[in-house]
Amino acid sequence: MNKTHIDHSTPKTSDDWLKLLRDAPCGYLLLSSRGDIVYANDTFLSWMQYERSEIEDQKKFQDFLPIGHRLFYETQHLMKLRLQGEVNEVNYSLRRKDGGLKETLINSKVVKGELDKVSQIQLIIMPFSERITYEKELLKAKKASEEAAHSKSNFLATMSHEIRTPIHAIINASKILDHFEPQGEQKELLDVIHSAGDHLLKLINSVLDLSKLEAKVMAPVSKSFNMSDLLEQLVKIYRPLAKINQVMLTSEIDPNLKTELVSDEVKINQILTNLIGNAIKFTKNGTITIFVKVQGETSDQIHLRIEIRDTGIGMSESEVQKVKDPFTQANSEIYSLYGGSGLGLSITNRLLEVLGSNLQIESTKGQGSTFWFELSVDKGHEITVCQNEHSKTFSGMDLSHLRILNVDDQPSNLLIIKHFCRMCNANFYGANSGEEALDYLQTEDFDLILMDINMPGMSGFDATQAIRTLDDPKKAQVPIIGFSAYESQDIIVKARQVGMNNVLSKPIAMSKLYEQISLLTSEINQVVQSVPQWTPFENLTDVPSLSSLKSFFDNDKEAISEYLTLAARDLDDIIEDLEEVLENNSIEIYKKATHKSTTILRFLEMNSIQSMIDEMKDLLYDSDDFHNELIKLIAVYQDTAHWIRHQLSD
């Protein structure tokens, strides 16, 4: 019986090797450094249906490529090949002699000659027809799912806004009904409406936050605040809730924290609220402690570690991994036992990302969890005396001397304000539109206008602008508070610009509204003169001075006031230009606009503003930072213009 012969020999001569190369199960091309095909193996020739003489020294590799792929080869592939020495697994369609296309996957490598220069290029060509079909399908599916995720975020953002408005009406209506002394079951039902409404609102806010965060439209807004006040407030709010679970909620703040912090208080509050709320949910009969520790500090920055430590149910390692994902809870029992949307931690984590940090979790099942994060924040003022603010409650307030006009296209919102007015004896007037409000003002005088910003037809902004230009100064200067369902810096800037005294966001917190009314009414009592009082120049860090101007014009009052009139007008133009920059980020307009103000700022001795403008040049195009600074700068210009007009009126 013959044994099977196994050939262990390697090819002996270069001819033997060449023969193997010729029939290799892949295409092989050798190119000159200029790209001409020097050698093509038989496999390649038979795939492409060409004779050797038609290709060698006759064609370049790119001649086989359809034009779009050729563009890809020249702009993407060749450059990298020259720099990297090899580029692999690139997909090309090659045009056969009969015009048909062959899908291929290509590996490429340069052959280096003298002085390390590219002398030749080798290509290996593999057929790829079947797989490319799958790959294209996969790619299509991937793109479709990304698009779907994006539309989901948009949809959530839009719907959340739409849903907030009616919820606001329900909550406030239930609060009002509370003042009619409901009896027995009525009271209980009202409580149900109220707490369910609150719960729903929180949920909607979470969804909205998450979609905003996913769309990456949330930028930090920094201002100075006192950390220990914030903690005290949070503990006060959450202690009753913790008590229900027999949990002791306390906070410990590092005594070395002696300054205020400059950071995004609202986001930090939201982060802590989420973490404390979570800890309370999962702790029974135990303790929750919030620690704020100073880890280190420099002359202008402080590094904090903030911990929320509980003795609750804890989590296993794999559960810790899962909880940061949106819509996911640690395990499926959590929902049935504790409820919730699974959004809290993922929102918290994204908020922390906005602040340049991230959430860390240490947890032991059955023993409790510690959620912590670190923050580097700028230092603010030193903390001196802790002051306790006594907010006014509306029950003690009598606003019977006030005539309040509420402008809102939604009757339910008008009703809410109407009832509040009734409770504090203010005289209520309602208008369904900006136009109607203006009609009202023809015949009536008001002490205060509460203006919805988003109305069909004439918006609250338009109406305010129209009111501010009325001939009768008493009507033109009536304090106006805007109501907005959207919270954004842009709206606040715009509101200031059209002449609103303040903006409150919906749902209107009644205590805030009363605070505002009391503030404005005390101002109303003071306001006798015709100077608009709603400009506290709060954005001016430099107090403008007229002394340079006086010496320049030799104390010629007429010349000075003429200059100031023109300067104020220039500033109006500059503000308008900069608002355009907010929209389109045009660097040219920014430069031109700020340049126009150079002389004015110099005359008014506002040097730090000029340095702010100069420093902003370094932030150009950093959309977030630049945007925030620009908003501040616009406010400075607005205040400067108002200051000038104030001087002129004196």
């Binding site: 450094s33 200029r34 790209g35 790119q62 359809p66 034009i67 779009g68 792929h69 050729r70 563009l71 890809f72 020249e74 702009t75 993407q76 592939h77 060749l78 450059m79 990298k80 020259r82 720099l83 990297q84 020495g85 090899e86 580029v87 692999n88 697994e89 690139v90 997909n91 090309y92 996957l105 590219v118 797989r131 490319i132 790959e135 294209k136 996969l138 790619l139 991937k142 389109n584 980020n585 660097i587 040219e588 040049k617 370094d618 932030l619 150009l620 195009y621 950093d622 959309s623």
Partner: protein
């Protein structure tokens, strides 16, 4: 480091007073100048940069609206020159960046003393009286090829999206990866590049220009080079022996010589 220098990953070398700015085209980054730029370091202050979205630029500055036209990139270069206090510069632009150079000159006349255009084209799409070399569908085919090669099977062209600043151990592996681009930005830049039409701007170019035309360049064919020669007010037109679209990579000596001749004029 200044924000602006970081934004465009600016690298400055060389001994001269006059600045020579090299700007890469579509598909690569400042690495493409490595065979050419060093030759000018003795006589010039050599400034290399990556357009926002390419190479080592900071992609966070990428803003679709701003870079929707070539002017956005031109504006970046004007800002950079202002920041570095550069005047009378020599601008060397490859491919689409030759047109970015033209826009810099138009928006800030006098900033550029001499403009070197390597494989320039003011418009890539054919129309009735103009042969740019491509039709709309060719560009779509390119985008599809980018799609499949950036996002699909192939890995070697796949860009390094993940930053490695916080993972120094990856540094060495990534060292040899050139011309990285975020795939979405690369697609946008491809559209902006190949759908741009700056033919109407050519007569407004004030700087002295050198047009370097290659043989067998499918992206900027000779008919386009001749069109530019006719339309740009002050230019020298040189046809190189080099073939393809990147003479500064495939034939650096010839390219250096042509640029040097022009600068010594």
């Amino acid at each position: 480091m200044s924000t602006l220098l970081h934004k465009n990953n600016v690298k400055i070398t060389g001994n001269g007073d006059q600045a020579m700015i090299f700007v890469h085209g579509f598909g690569c980054d400042q690495n493409m100048w490595r065979f050419v730029a060093p030759s000018f370091e003795n006589d010039y202050k050599v400034v290399l940069l990556d357009l926002v979205g390419a190479g080592g630029s900071d992609a966070r500055y990428y803003n679709k609206q701003k870079y929707d036209t070539l002017t956005g990139h031109a504006q970046d270069i004007i800002d950079l020159c202002e920041f570095l206090n550069l005047n009378d510069i020599i601008f060397v632009g490859h491919s689409v960046s030759a047109m970015i150079g033209a826009l810099v000159d138009i928006h800030q006349p006098g900033l550029i003393e001499k403009l070197v255009m390597i494989g320039p084209s003011p418009c890539y799409i054919n129309d009735e009286n103009y042969h740019g070399g491509f039709d709309q569908k060719d560009i779509e085919e390119l985008l599809e090829a980018m799609d499949i090669n950036y996002l699909g099977w192939s890995s070697s062209l796949a860009p390094v999206i993940m930053g490695n600043a916080d993972k120094p151990e990856l540094g060495n592996e990534l060292k040899e990866s050139f011309c990285k681009t975020d795939p979405e930005i690369a697609q946008e830049f491809a559209k902006v590049t190949f759908l741009s039409d700056n033919r109407a701007d050519l007569h407004r170019i004030k700087a002295d220009c050198l047009i370097l035309q290659c043989q067998e360049d499918i992206i900027a064919p000779e008919t386009v080079g001749e069109y530019l020669k006719e339309k740009i007010p002050s230019n020298s037109y040189t046809v190189l022996d080099a073939t393809g679209h990147c003479p500064h990579m495939s034939a650096p000596e010839e390219t250096i010589a042509a640029i040097t001749d022009f600068l010594e004029l």
